[in-house]
Amino acid sequence: MIQVNRIAQSSKRINRQRTLTFSFNGKEYEGFEGDTVASALLANGVDVVGRSFKYSRPRGIITSDSQEPNAIFQIGSTQATTIPNPRATQTDLYQGLTASSTNGWPNVDFDVMSTVGKLGGSMMPPGFYYKTFMFPQSLWMSYEHLIRKGAGLGASPQTGDPDSYDKMHHHCDVMVVGGGPAGLAAALSAAQSGARVIISDEQNEFGGSLLCSTQEIDGQIASEWVEKTVAQLADMDNVYLLPRSTVFGYFDHNLVGINERRTDHLGEHQLQSTRQRLHKVRAKQVILATGAHERPLVYANNDVPGCMLANAISTYINRYDVVPGNKLVLMTTNDNAYKTAIDWHQAGRKVVAVVDTRSTSNGELVDKVRKLGIEIIFDHAVIEVKGNKRVKGVDVAPINAANHSVTGAAKYFVCDTVASSGGWSPVIHLSSHTGSRPVWNDDIAGFVPGKTVQKQHVCGGLEGVYALSKVISDGFTTGAIASQAAGRGEGIYTGELPKINDPQEDASMALFHIPHSKKTSRAPKQFVDYQNDVTAAGIELANREGFESIEHVKRYTALGFGTDQGKLGNINGMAITAKSLGKSIPETGTTIFRPMYTPTTFGALAGADVKHLFDPARFSAMHKWHLDHGAEFEDVGQWKRPWYFPQQGETMQQSLERECLATRNSVGILDASTLGKIDIQGKDAREFLERVYTNPWKKLAVGKCRYGVMCNEDGMVFDDGVTVCLDDNRFIMTTTTGGAAGVLQWLELWHQTEWPELEVYFSTVTDHWSTMTISGPNSSKVLDKICDIDVSNDSFMYMDWREATVAGIKARIFRISFTGELSFEINVQANYGMPAWKAVMAAGEEFNITPYGTETMHILRAEKGFIIVGQDTDGSVSPQDLDMDWVVGKKKEFSYIGKRSWTRFDNKRENRKQMVGLKPKDPNFVLPEGAQIVFDKNQSIPMTMVGHVTSSYYSACMGYSFALAVVKGGINRKGESVFLPLSDGNTVEAEICSPVFYDPKGDRQNV
């Protein structure tokens, strides 16, 4: 296993001391520490790395960075750790790495789809889906099934993720994105003027373009300057360095989202460490120094393996000591790319020719190439590549770029590598994330960041500043300006500038699409967006068909839809559209750049908010007891409430019947701590209650409790509960468990925005109190044993509350009842909740006191016809609908919340849905909650539904099943029969009755 394309040691970026073995498509290879998977594959002379999505053409590596459209792999050796779609060019090599192509069957070298691709290809222009597979309609699903077989790149893991992720927030004066020369210089000068600086770069080390540059700074190779500068930054404690950290998004108000890859370069999975960390940076000022991406040229068969970006080739040579071929033809529109010819030549391989689309150039790099005796052909272009799995040669022909034509015969050159450079496109993505549109700059033939409302600065290649000396001075200046804007320093860089002489460069040519002797529609495929097989012909076809907006072009052809988000192809696609519509590129405009800059792991976006931390689980002080006693729990909002307490071998129904009977016949106990409690104080507290509750509060005496209903302004019930009067200007309001937070906000809203003049304060005391409700004929006996006050009926009356001690613990006891039985709601300070609960259990033992959960509580209250807001109401139910006119104040002078809406037409309708009880004809049949109700069981579908079942249970105490329901005009239909057509096809009958089934006179709460 020799690395055929690895040349003699010269780069410090890779470590020859550490050889790493890895496998690709089942074959073993070797590379070095510092390699990316891409550089290692190229070192080993691997040409075909995948098959194209639509036409299944062989594809090779084109780029060396985030632009890569082809080398998209499945990496990982297990179903838990495998990662779909990482880019080989951005994946650091590690020992034992296992990679495979994501397309190609049975393998990428022999792929049966390719024959289909060849034959079918011509039938698959953009939008071909929309034009066929229509008939017969019934068959689309099966067509689709076939299409989906071919869909997708990599495969998802099949089991959960063994790695963990987390997040960190940061604040800084200056956030620098990009660690190339511009970014490093900016960070340094900002830090030197005292700013808190964070700098991040998505590569494995800082330096950007300098990591592969042969240029000199202060007489040394540029990477030395990088090391020096990074060391300086590392020494300052106002600087935070984030390598391997991609800024995936730039969000409103200067929030920068960064994904740091902490362990991906070490191996497939690291125990006990965070795989990726998401950093959220709030920066006073942001400096974007994201540089520029080289643009390929669009020519026939430009996807044959061996066709690469010029700068990518230089990167592989200078950074990784890898020359990805033997015979190079370079096609360029600019001087800068001549570097690649020089690098190739100096690596000891043959440069067949440099094909320059310009009529001439006398730039220094061009002269240097001339001096090396390399043939330069001006006014020409590579119009077509020959070869299938590797470039075999190219046709070079004279062209007239202005009228997009080939002006003479083509000459054939044998070569195995084609480098192309169409100039550079600034990496404007981030600057566009918050809605700013980029603007075209003719001098560099590229888009640069436009106006923005963010506190943003740009420098270096991103601005179209390319000469290294300018890039670095630009960086220093921008860093100083940004930190001044953040309130640090004078805004001027005073340090000295490194000595750099930049080669003088002649003007480059704005050319994107290389003409062919055949017209585009007939020429061999000229690829624009490789990943989605978007061709120049396809784009022109889209335009011909009327898809003229660049957004339509994108959506019709899938240009820029890929995982590189058009980094490689978008500008070329826009240029081709512009050309075919006879517009300028700025007129054509760009599509919208969105996060993610490069794809971001779901796990990192979720951070630690997974599994048991996905959402807080709230517990009462007695939770441990419930656990120890085998409770099943119900999620109520964020709370975990005991649902029922099954005993050995009991079914749920058996538990419920036991709990219900025990409570009705002796005594039961419920943990009611989760109910919301609001401490309301102030001389206007009473007046306030008067306004937010529908019933009157003026006369509630100290020491008394009262039930109240709250409506929205639209007159519909939204919460209810008991409020107790502690003294004339102090009340404790209880709310539903789910409604607690909402009700407090509601009260504050009205107080703060409408009635600030009312002297009242609200504070939540929900968590302060542990509440246990003991209910049943024996409840007073239990309480009497451990309570220091007389709890008998005549001294402690229904709807009274008392201060007392229970088992020596200070308590507030409310004599209210939600079960209809004699009940005491014992409230103790929550730190005493558990001891109090245990004491009550002990005292109740002789009465077989039985803990019950929410389900039994629901049954018992339903037997009494008490509603549960949210179960028996759904936001469309008024107090009148609930037959609760008694809770509606008639003579209150203030027009309390909700009242006005009751006089609207719809609220006065006769046949509104109203709360009633239902008795199923079959006393043992429990109607399903949610069953719909009709009057005429013989009506055919669609049937006229007149209501539905809101609560339904079997009552062990009454010995028959029963339900609460809403029925149109139900209040006046007591005794009538209704029908419930169930989902199993059966229709059952039930009789409308009063919703109060148990103890209608209400004697039991006074036994």
């Binding site: 987390d166 630690a608 908010d609 931390l613 689980a617 104080q681 304060y761 968590d767 300070q829 558990m834």
Partner: protein, 198 residues
């Protein structure tokens, strides 16, 4: 109340007492300042009488600057809102301090005993800022968050008031029902630094 009763702080079930001393080289150090007296105080900071009343009752001037706090032998006061403060007193003192406040204060004010409603979690150690940055979006730089400052903010998906006790020590006021979640969060967030319970 009789002290034979076994009171249970919100983190009682975590049995922190048994974890004390188990690891001592943690980058994050946690201590539950359990069972202290917590009073929620409401009143008008523009009302000189009210301010004077608090001063007399607690022997301490009410901190009326946003996000400020004050401390005396008797009590620590945290600013929660322009008209709302948290008064923390020694365990068991909440009752008489409340009575004292009621005695000294006139006009429109409110006091609620919320000693059972929340607990104090003290976090310190060399990595405490890292843990904080994992848990809240607030800026913990000393310039922004000096010693003595209190901020009401989010802590992971719970709410909390955070007081900076010293450069590397914070007091979190956490609601009882959320305390288990916060405890779990802190454990996972401090895993890489090590967690010491004191």
């Amino acid at each position: 109340m009789s002290n034979s009763i076994k009171v249970e702080s919100p983190l009682h079930h975590a049995q922190l007492d048994q974890l004390i001393g188990q690891s001592n080289k943690g980058g994050v150090i946690l201590h539950e300042a359990a069972l202290l007296g917590h009073l929620n105080l409401r009143g008008n900071a523009q009302d000189a009488e009210f301010l004077a009343g608090v001063q007399e009752a607690l022997g301490l001037a009410l901190p009326i600057m946003p996000c400020s706090s004050a401390k005396s032998e008797l009590a620590q006061i945290m600013w929660l809102a322009p008209d709302e403060w948290l008064v923390i007193v020694a365990s068991g003192r909440e009752y008489d301090v409340e009575q004292k406040l009621r005695a000294y204060l006139k006009g429109h004010f409110a006091v609620s005993d919320i000693s059972g409603a929340q607990t104090l979690i003290e976090l310190s150690g060399e990595n405490v800022i890292d843990l904080m940055n994992k848990s809240t979006g607030y800026d913990f730089h000393l310039e922004i968050f000096p010693v003595g400052k209190v901020v009401g903010t989010t802590f992971a998906k719970a709410g909390a008031h955070i007081l900076r006790v010293s450069e590397d020590k914070f007091r979190l006021v956490v609601r009882r029902s959320f305390s288990d979640y916060v405890w779990l969060w802190i454990q996972q967030g401090s895993q890489e630094y090590g967690l010491t319970i004191v």
